[in-house]
């Protein structure tokens, strides 16, 4: 899932969904020919076509990444799909560490969380496999030189 790219010693990036565009191919094979030949004049058909087209747009264009820029001293978590969807920018000084925890109310799903010096906790990666989450957390923690803690508790769930 998450792929770590080290651009330079001061810039690193964790990129997600790099192969999402492959899933767009079957949708595009359906959407483009039907759109070009003309859709039948039924509202459900048009809405369905628009839904499939939106879906393929996102599969093709979505960019999800967690970038660390030591020159600017920030961690940028961004989600975009040609247009920006959500973006979070946190100064590296305020990050006290990263940890892997059990996803709330879900079995066998783990999240990568970030802890800030003001006591805030922010979820970076949701619902992953445990090893995957630990690996992603390790990349981020190593590059930022912050601790990675295991906060997974055994018990319920």
């Amino acid at each position: 899932m998450g792929h770590w790219i080290e651009i330079s010693p001061t810039q690193g990036k964790l990129v997600f969904g790099r192969r999402a565009w492959m899933w767009a191919i079957p949708f595009l094979l359906l959407v483009i020919p039907t759109g070009l030949t003309g859709l039948p004049g039924e509202p459900p058909m048009i809405l369905g076509w628009a839904l499939a087209a939106t879906f393929s747009w996102h599969l093709l264009c979505v960019r999800h990444s967690i970038a660390i820029d030591k020159n600017r001293g920030v961690l940028i978590h961004s989600l975009s799909s040609l247009y920006p969807i959500a973006r979070l920018e946190v100064p590296l000084d305020e990050i006290s560490g990263f940890y892997v925890s059990r996803a709330a109310f879900e079995r066998r799903r783990y999240s990568v969380m970030m802890s800030l010096s003001n006591g805030q906790r922010i979820c970076l990666v949701k619902r992953g496999v445990r090893q995957e989450a630990e690996r992603q957390g390790q990349y981020l923690a190593d590059f930022c030189q912050r601790p990675l803690k295991d906060e997974v508790r055994e018990g319920f769930g």
Partner: protein
Amino acid sequence: MSIQTDYSSLSKGARWHLKAGVEGRYYLIGSSQVTWIIIGLIALVSGLSSAFMAIVLSGAEQVIYTVVTFLLWPFIILALGRRHHFVFDRHQGQLLHRKSWWGLFVKELPGPPLSELKVVVAPIAELSEGCQLEVLKQRFTVGSLEQTRQLALFLHRYFKVQAVDRVTEWPEERPLVLPVTEPEAVMAIAVGKDNKGPSVLPVTYRGVWERYIVLKLVWPFPLFVILGVLSMLIGNRGG
């Protein structure tokens, strides 16, 4: 200020876990009791419905439901009666494991001395908000950081346990100390008068997943609906 008034100034979440027993014996409810009560309540719902069925139905169905009712009810009574308390005993200076069943068959096992007991104010790792108190591997979800700190300070003041804070300098632990020696300080924390504490967040960040992502994901949809209508019009003209 007495222990009772300080106790009543604790938050509701704190008083849910820390109960005031007879003769000033304060105790925390163990997680095994909570588990058994939850199981018991689930069994109670099925027990009540099967009892109801045993009354209203007749014939073979009545027999089945009567058998189920008679099997379930002893279990419900067993499960709901289970008590497991961590008693803070000031006189003996010890934590006691007090186990009983509906207040009967009381068994008190000695735990660690209170001076060696560590209560930790810890973050709830799974959630982005909220704090819990960790005592002997048991976790008590109290509420906000201040409420949890208040409970830890209360235990530290009256039972001389070691109160530790793992939130403000996570992942390091540091001792939680009373900011001012007056007991009013504890009250001040409770009502949020103390502005110097670490609870004041200078900047609050909002995680990517906490925003309305789905609303933004549907932005291209109207555009494609218009395109779809255009495609239909052009296609119909051509055909």
